[in-house]
């Protein structure tokens, strides 16, 4: 799979190099002003998700308008709305949006429905494509696993959502807690790198009201770990991508047949389900939005959470614990395992119903340009989509460098969701049955058997080729 992705990316990069060479002979300097001249005055509508990253991006969108004369109706909706409304718009053929930000989990359905426009034609058009775009700089394997299917390219990489390990540094570095931890577990207290350490830290810090924590008496219960647990949303993401894949397995084989009844799935579910005993009582209600809230409120010691939401908490004025956190890549079972991390690579995809695909393509390209990305990340806050952008972010003295180190390490293991047309049905089953394991209503073995049976009834094979 990785080799295939690399080959696709290499071919794509080779194509762009050839294009660059050809362009160099034809024109001395490619510019957005010239490329957009035929489309000046047109209006395009882009639907995106509201997160701190996109709010930052919205501020620089007017620069594209100024540069090209193309008017952009840039709309932001919340995570669930952007999925529902974007899909409804494209699938119904209404075509209100020229491009929609799609998470990789949506791409299989949208490709199967034939509503995503390939961009190969635009890429090959020297008038439209910047020869200096440097597609091979986009972060892999996120980009390659997101943007291509069956030899065609559909997008760039625009948003690189990824999960990191997130813990309370003030607790992990408290001398009293460090001494007590080492005495109990026989090794020094530090951010978890393995699932065993994650479990030990969760167990160690789970305390009842009246007990002490870092020298203070607790007036309410404190929890060792908090994770997503709600039925619906993205509960399944870390369970599958972190706990199961790092156990050496996956939920589909190379041909797309479900493989839930495997030892890796059972091991992953056991490890994840076991952590629920150290979690807040309401974890079965927690979505990806609740987890950072709970961490910011200071009632849990550690978490596995989306790094872009972390950015919303670990900043001045957002949480009293700002500056007290420590980050790392999501844990593994043992050193030397093939590394997998959780994430949701996402990109702008042009709708087949777009009336202005060329102008929209220019926007897609501009959004992922090095210069645009540099400007987007100039505040020192963000999630890069380009390898070269790390240098923009990790400047000397940036308090978030630890988080960026963690992101960079996690992104090395983040792949897009397989292009499964019925992914929403599959993830619905996963969320429901995973949650039952967390709540103690099913054992890992029972869950694996139920998953295999239910998912096979939905599709077999499940992935587009």
């Amino acid at each position: 799979m990785a080799a295939m992705l690399l080959r696709r990316k290499t071919l794509s990069a080779a194509g762009l190099s050839a294009l660059a060479l050809a362009a160099a002979t034809q024109a001395s300097a490619w510019s957005y002003e010239e490329a957009a001249a035929p489309y000046a005055g047109t209006q395009i509508s882009i639907l995106d998700e509201v997160t701190p990253l996109q709010e930052q991006f919205a501020e620089i969108v007017p620069e594209f308008e100024k540069l090209t004369g193309i008017k952009v109706n840039y709309q932001l909706l919340n995570h669930f709305e952007v999925i529902n409304r974007g899909q409804a718009d494209m699938l119904s053929g209404r075509g209100e949006y020229d491009a929609v930000m799609a998470h990789s989990l949506q791409v299989g359905l949208l490709m199967d429905a034939g509503v995503l426009m390939p961009i190969d034609g635009f890429l090959a058009d020297a008038a439209l494509t910047d020869p200096d775009f440097a597609q091979d700089d986009l972060i892999d394997p996120a980009f390659s696993s997101l943007a291509f299917l069956d030899g065609k390219q559909y997008s760039f990489l625009n948003w690189n959502y990824n999960m990191v390990y997130w813990a309370r540094n003030d607790l992990l570095s408290d001398p009293g807690e460090m001494e007590a931890f080492e005495a109990e577990y026989g090794y020094p207290l530090a951010p978890a790198e393995t699932f065993d350490q994650l479990h030990d830290i969760a167990e160690f810090f789970t305390r009842k009201s009246g007990e002490t924590l870092a020298g203070e008496t607790l007036d309410s219960d404190f929890y060792g770990i908090v994770m997503e647990g709600m039925n619906g949303g993205g509960t399944y993401v870390p369970v599958w991508q972190v706990f199961i894949k790092n156990a050496g397995g996956d939920i589909f084989d190379a041909d797309g047949h479900p493989t839930f009844d495997s030892p890796a799935v059972i091991k992953g579910l056991e490890t994840w389900g076991d952590l629920w005993q150290f979690s807040p009582p309401g974890q079965a209600e927690y979505s990806l939005i609740d987890v950072p809230t709970v961490m910011g409120n200071g009632i849990a010691a550690q978490s596995i959470a989306y790094s872009d939401f972390v950015l919303g908490i670990d900043r001045e004025g957002a949480s009293a614990l700002h500056g007290e956190f420590v980050y790392g890549p999501t844990p593994v079972y043992a050193d030397g395992d093939e590394y997998h991390a959780a994430g949701e690579p996402s990109g702008y995809f042009i709708s087949t119903h777009s009336k202005n695909p060329e102008a929209t393509y220019l926007f897609l390209q501009w959004a992922a340009e090095k210069k645009t990305q540099a400007e987007l990340l100039s505040s020192g806050v963000g999630v890069p989509v380009r390898d070269s952008s790390w240098a923009e972010l990790m400047t000397e003295g940036n308090q978030l460098n630890g988080l960026y180190d963690a992101m960079k390490a996690s992104l090395a293991g983040v792949e897009a969701t397989p292009k499964a047309p019925r992914w929403f049905q599959i993830s619905d089953v996963m969320n429901r049955i995973f949650q039952q394991v967390g709540l103690g209503q099913a054992t890992a073995e029972e869950a694996a058997a139920a998953l295999q049976s239910e998912v096979t009834a939905i599709c077999d094979p499940c992935i587009l080729k």
């Binding site: 899909q87 009201s209 039925n231 949303g233 309401g282 009632i299 929403f424």
Partner: protein
């Protein structure tokens, strides 16, 4: 100054039985035509279209070939559909009678000219005036696990519900939602029944008091029979409305834990916007409509014959 026109001359008057007859024959239809037209456009046409979709393949929202009853077969063999019917049935069976009883008691109390009645009544409007989505958010902030005001300060602090939370517990989540529904709709029942009681004629009550009837006899022999039409209509409306519950479930549990609070409306939303199984979703809507069509007819006949209502 208003001018009073003279009566039309005899020659201008229509011949007896001609235009007056025509006018009286078409006039009522003309009056209800705008309403009927609007209802046809906004309700009947979409419903018929949905019925048509339910008989067709509908992949990703694109209507395909005629599929007969395949969508209905798929729906009726899906355990989630039957689970959702059970959830809604339980929801209605518990919530509506409690709201009904509390509403009646509240209305009787208000009728007793209690102190501060005029202050209390506006407050009773508040829960029912809130959009259901706001009601959901209010109770999320009260009962959310670990950070909800009530959960954090009472349930967890005093160990009443250790190791779980109301909406995270498969055993409690549905009852939590029922509680929220009762909180939201009981005041509406109180006010409606109170308004009904205020509209009852006073003479029979005076006569009953003169004849020496006690309050219990007055309630069962006079108040209840005279209120019966209102009680039946409100009970029917509330039953239908409770069965359709969606917003509060979506906000508070999204149908979970597992599928323990997944009502037909939540399932229909998932079929439509998560799974894009528009055919199955349409079949679900048709089945729910049929269930209520039968239920309302049976209810109507019983109310008409046994209670002499309608």
């Amino acid at each position: 100054m208003t001018e009073i026109s003279a009566a039309p001359a005899a020659a201008d008057r229509p011949a007896a039985g001609e235009s007056y007859h025509r006018e009286s024959r078409w006039y009522p239809y003309a009056l209800i035509a705008p309403t009927m037209l609007t209802l046809t456009v906004v309700a009947l046409v979409p419903f018929l279209y949905m019925g048509w979709i339910s008989l067709h393949e509908a992949r990703y929202g694109q209507i395909g070939a005629f599929a007969g009853f395949a969508n209905f077969e798929k729906l009726l063999t899906d355990p989630r559909f039957w689970n959702s019917m059970k959830v809604a049935g339980l929801f209605v069976a518990i919530a509506v009678p409690i709201e009904f009883m509390l509403g009646l008691i509240g209305a009787l109390v208000l009728s007793q000219r209690i102190k501060f009645r005029s202050v209390l009544i506006p407050f009773l409007f508040i829960p029912s005036m809130m959009a259901p989505i706001i009601v959901g958010l209010v109770w999320k902030t009260m009962l959310a696990g670990s950070w909800g005001f009530f959960s954090y300060n009472i349930l967890e602090r005093f160990g009443i519900l250790s190791g779980s939370s109301v909406f995270a517990s498969p055993d409690l989540a549905l009852y939590g939602l029922i509680f929220v529904d009762i909180w939201e709709w009981t005041p509406f029942m109180v006010l409606t029944f109170f308004a009904g009681m205020q509209a009852l004629p006073a003479n029979p009550f005076w006569a009953a008091q003169v004849d020496g009837a006690n309050p219990v006899q007055i309630f069962f022999r006079l108040t209840l029979p005279m209120l019966a039409p209102l009680l039946v209509v409100i009970g029917l409306i509330r039953t239908i409305d409770a069965f359709k519950v969606y917003d509060t479930i979506y906000i508070l549990t999204n149908g979970g834990p597992g599928i323990t609070t997944e009502s037909p409306s939540v399932l229909g939303y998932k079929y439509t916007f998560d799974f894009w199984e528009i055919g199955t979703a349409s079949a679900l809507a048709v089945v729910i409509w049929l269930v209520f069509f039968v239920f309302c007819n049976v209810f109507y006949q019983i109310a008409k014959r046994r209670l002499n209502v309608f």
